[in-house]
Symmetry: D3
Subunit: 323 residues, 6 copies
């Protein structure tokens, strides 16, 4: 079912209460005649951040910037609003002072959104710790596959730390926790954008030990064909299983995405990031998130715009796969 | 009837789709059990601006900043949310390329909001040209008083220009048009904050010729008791008639409100502005607006926060008068 | 004839009243001994903008930034100031509240600049709607060719919308109007940088239907040799006819050009943009513009600097073709 | 003993590794010949913040800005560096994810600084939750007075909330916890700068119920002589007991201090804040803190400079009292 | 003779090559029919700065901001453009790497501007070191009075340092050098806005030793009537002699003027500064400067606007005295 | 010997007095048990700048940003802290008003740092003029090789100007002076990133005349294999001689490094710059500098972070060569 988006020719894009891409609120969508394909919701939490906090304001900033994300993906030749029914479900309840409390609250919130049999969830962060909640619910909705979900991971960091400052659920540990939970299948996890400097080699060793395919940034810079091959092989490995996509905005370079908490120079341009995302056309999705937008560090809202555009490209993958 | 505001202790103030002060959408308010006392709506239009445009993004910025405006006015000893039923009515349809088209569209939009017999309208600009639309509807709702509405006007400028660049409905002309329309009573208009430099003395001569009481900024700086006297006399003159309040954020100094299109140094501090507003405690209101917030010129959102706080103080006047 | 530019070794580049590249004012140039090859002028108008306005301040910002654009193009091996006589003609009169009024006023202003038989016009926007005025005069000066001028168009958008908000002369319609006017030859128009998301496919269908060669951004990212071929073929098609170049700064990515009104992620780096411009070395020019610089959204003036640099590269094309 | 500060005439103020006011590191001070009167240390923690986090970067920003705080207080007619021995003790260890963990770690860190019999502690926040740690140690060093320490409190908020989001040690509760601990004497607590809007009246009721003298911002605006009287009476009440001073930078207006996490319009100018601080000349100090500087929200470092200047004025009070 | 300023109703204030208040270039003014009363020129030099450099870009920023300074001073009831003939003389040649070289070059440049018998000079800095050049020429034009010129000095600092870093002509020494030169009469010098913290008491002792009347900021805050008395007495002492006015923008608080090199909290609001300037109505002027605007530290151009407004108020003093 | 860096897991990266990469102060390093391999020091001087000054604040900004540069270079597979002993030596004494004075003072300061037989020097600018001082000392420590040191030079400019504004030691002349001094071997100098626009062709002619291998930016854009060949040949030419690396941050594009004094569009991305630096793996170093970071022009500290990262990559080259 299509999304009922107001036309920019009638309601200008600078007008109106800002929902994601101007989609209707999920509470306003009548499920009987328009079951949502995607419920987009925010998780305004940054209590898992290790450097610059502020991603709690990310969902609001992405919503504001997404006003200028129009529905047609020219490259993929599809109109997102026609292919998918999208709704904005507002923000999850969070426990601002507790990673674990927020995890539980967000899982509870997300579990109730839309029609579990149909509705996929796109979470807007918040720091990367919030991905775990969305992954858990995506895994539930995908029928609790025993191997866990295949994961497509864009990030400058691996987020496979065990504990930091006595916290197991911080933003550098979501991937490890997801693997331990059984929600993520490390052997079908592709991590793109990794680069240093690093505190420790442990995170990388854990990742490769678990079978994660790590495509560091330098490989993209030095040997693009090998990246294409890695993507090709990974896509073959996942068969037609639905994939969870997690996109940490710091995969993109600080020049394009200064508004993030743990910036790392030498990342992707947005043109490169979109190009890579488009290599996954036709892939089925189990859920997704876009995280680590920290508006207080942003300039002229370019990071929030990039994040909204990334979300648009992720949804386009799903639309291209038939929603 | 009180407003159903989510507690910041449950839903943090950085969470949720941003409506004005987190009030419910007017479309979600059931008029039978909670007729809105105030409908707050945006008019995202800056086509009447003579210097820096950008106030079309003002309503969104004020909504975002207003998340941190809590409901209790400590000084006035009242809880806005208990005294008044407030709803966010979204943004008016505008004609972005036409002052007159926007005027008509905004009047049509505003006329339909809430219960005309009860609901007053608070417009968030947009440039000052949008005030005229709201004044017209406020005058309608006040029963079309023959003398026009008394006006309380905060502004660095008089906005009594006739035409600029062949436009009669630009942001420097709203007051003149309102007087011509018969919606505003110039003899019961009090204009506070006027200062130069000026292009011409015509606007001031028109204003004083029509009987407007102009309290220039310099009088506040040099002789505060005379300002108190002027306010006292004006309040006596309006008797108990409901008053329209229009607040151009450039009445406040650019240090406190850099995000505005025609900034003028030497204005009020926010502490001074709030102090003056509080001198009108107990006054009945016919309608109000807060205009000229231009987010692209703002820094750390302080202008939007000041504007949201001004709106809160204006609503507090009404709440103190029994709503 | 060369331009009389003050040396940075005598008058530092941070000194002096800012004219474009420190060129003399056209009013100070004696036409009898130095007929201007190029008159650069601003059109400070943003009334045609559909998202962030503010490009009315673009000409001033570009002039300020252009102080640091030195005259020698190392790559093209030429000294712009020796090859061309350049003058700054100030800003066109505009009708700030009317696209059509500005169009007429700017045409009238531009028509009188310099020696029509010799002087080409480089317009600094302002939003893209102002290009139409300059194109009209360029077409006049080129001898009103029946087919219209060949056009080289850099832009994230096609600008072939028919009307938006009842306006035929807004910034998204200049190209369509220019084709309708007969000033632009769509069959010899090359549009580079197009990308989405889009409101509608109509603009693209109109463009391709008229014979415009559209090189979308994705083609540059995925298949550069095909872009080279497209450029080669287009250059062959124009023969030696003088070309009009219009450069919307949003062709460049928001990381490099945040200061623009309708930013679109995934664009060119400046290095790429300059590289493409250099592919047109030796091409004769009929006129040019650089538009959509919106200083209130800029950071550290990098957008204005990029725009000034683009203008420098465009003029270098002309200088390389013998002026 | 004086502080060994490098002269700005030898080492310019933009040079050198930044310590507070360019004071020596405490680890470099030989206690036998220069026991520190004041150890200044940072507590880079913002896990107790309810709105914009980021104050964890406050100590670094204040150190950087304090390079331009010179040692002589012209008004108080004293040279801070001659009157007091000041050292920078670096930053406390914190538990970034735990208010209570940070409280304990900071107490442990601070307890060991300098000579307990002589050295007072000035903590640089960090959010206001960190004040409690410093107050505890100050109370220890003051000999554990049974009534608790008299407190001079500058703040837009009362910080007497009980728990927020299940946290007892957040930044809005430090004062309540300090009273419960017995470290603060509420009956000799003077709180200046309080203003709304408020979530609840509970905090004020608790404060006044405990005997805290609250001087709201409006009293300063409307009736300055009454503020002078309140200060006079409070000073009489504390006799010669050493006082703890806690200064939340949000007591100052967002125009002067935009870089803070819970900004509240209508606050003090810096000139007013300094003027009030000077009313406490000659008062003995038990300890102090300056908190809530959030650099990511600052502009041109003016908030950090104001905070450093406030710290300078607080130390001047102590110097004027004989150190 | 009046100044020929383009009306904002014809040429919008965002249009045109930016000269000071849109005045004609001095080179375009025909002296035979319009001898300039005031020549405004920039001195883009910051080589004398002791902290944040960047004031070399001050003249350009003030010119840009001055576009919005309209000609009529409402309070003084005069139209500057009618009372005075004002021209923009461009920027002085400077020696960017030499204080003394710049002093000489600027004196040479300024000496030739306009009609020495009639034209007064308003210099736009640049750092405060550039004032000395303008003072020397003003003193020349005033007929080399033996006592030196009376000086009205607004500044957070006294600028009476002898040498700093082996430089006698830096920005902290202009006043001392001017006294030594005999151009300034210290006994008729009134210095307003002085505040700390200070490096040394020497500068103050030198100043008071020479008979300078120093009105520190604290006196304004604590005892305004005494400031009025000091101004009254000083005005009596200068009789009808023309006065030189030097205004360091750091006299104004960093909240209002963040764009300056040596910011000092606790300064004037712009409303206060304008109010004080207006206390000098009717005073004859020998010359003036406005200095220390550092655009790289400015936000939303408010410092440059304040500086342009200060220049406007200074010229209004002269206009009110008959030009 | 390894560097004793505090773990981010114990002392968070936002905590502590900021030294370069959190290295110990050189004054705290006991040379007997840990002779420093590298002493990193700042030269806070910008008196040689020709456009935007402010790089005097560069060392402090780089130190602050370097807190987030972790020690392990994933690509080079080494832990910098284990391979090298690094210490922060603070800032050189400078003569802020004199290029030559600063040169002498910095040489004197640097000459005394660490163990001349072992300790190499990494200077943090400051403008590029400060490189000359460090080069002189590096050449001393390398045993005063008769041919001068091989130089690897990243820069948008050649810095081979003779004198500018009568100054021989400004930031555009360091390379010429170094060649004249005999410290640099022009025939083994590789300059990467050069681009225009230019004032003059003299600098390029001087460079090529002296045998410098200039790899302009356009060659990188158009023909990367030829850049690889040039690097390969240059590396062959230097044999195993230790090389001096000087990195002007303006080699990187203004989108990635806006915080610099003479920005030039069309430069490297950081990913490209790091990739090129890695082509020099295993090369022995004689010394290095990273210069021209101007924090007042920076946004969200991305330039300072890029500079710190560049320094990290340079040190990694040395670590990879065995330190």
């Amino acid at each position: 079912m299509p999304t009922d988006l107001p036309s920019g020719r009638v309601q200008p894009r600078f007008a109106g209460v800002a929902t994601f891409m101007r989609a209707p609120l999920l509470s306003q969508v009548r499920p009987e005649n328009q079951p949502a394909d995607w419920a987009v919701y925010g998780v305004p939490f940054d209590g898992g951040t290790t450097y610059h906090p502020g991603a709690r304001f990310g969902p609001r900033a992405i919503r504001d910037a997404s006003q200028y994300i129009k529905p047609i993906n020219f490259h993929a030749e599809l109109d997102l609003a026609r292919e998918l029914s999208i709704a904005d479900a507002g923000d999850a309840i969070v426990a601002p002072y507790s990673c674990e409390g927020t995890l539980e609250a967000a899982v509870e919130f997300a579990s109730k959104l839309g029609d579990p049999a149909r509705t996929r969830l796109l979470a807007l962060g918040g720091d990367h710790s919030i991905a775990l909640a969305n992954i858990r619910v995506a895994w539930e909705r995908a029928g609790r596959p025993a191997t866990g979900l295949p994961l497509l991971h864009f990030d400058a960091h691996l987020d496979t730390a065990d504990t930091i400052w006595d916290e197991k659920y911080g933003h550098a540990s979501f991937l490890r926790r997801g693997i331990e939970d059984g929600c993520i299948d490390p052997e079908r996890t592709l991590s793109i954008g990794f680069r240093g400097p690093l505190n420790t080699m442990d995170d990388l060793e854990y990742a490769t030990g678990k079978g994660i395919e790590v495509v560091p940034m330098t490989r993209w810079v030095e040997d693009r064909p090998s990246v294409d091959r890695a993507i090709h092989e990974w896509r073959a490995s996942i068969n037609q299983d639905p994939v969870y996509v997690t996109f940490d905005i710091d995969a993109i370079d600080p020049a394009f995405a200064p508004g993030t908490g743990t910036p790392c120079c030498g990342g992707f341009t947005t043109a490169e990031a979109f190009s890579i995302l488009r290599k996954f056309e036709g892939m089925r999705l189990a859920g997704a998130d876009v995280v680590e937008v920290c508006p207080s560090r942003d300039v002229s809202d370019i990071t929030a715009l990039a994040a909204a555009h990334v979300a648009f490209e992720i949804l386009s993958i799903d639309a291209g796969a038939g929603g």
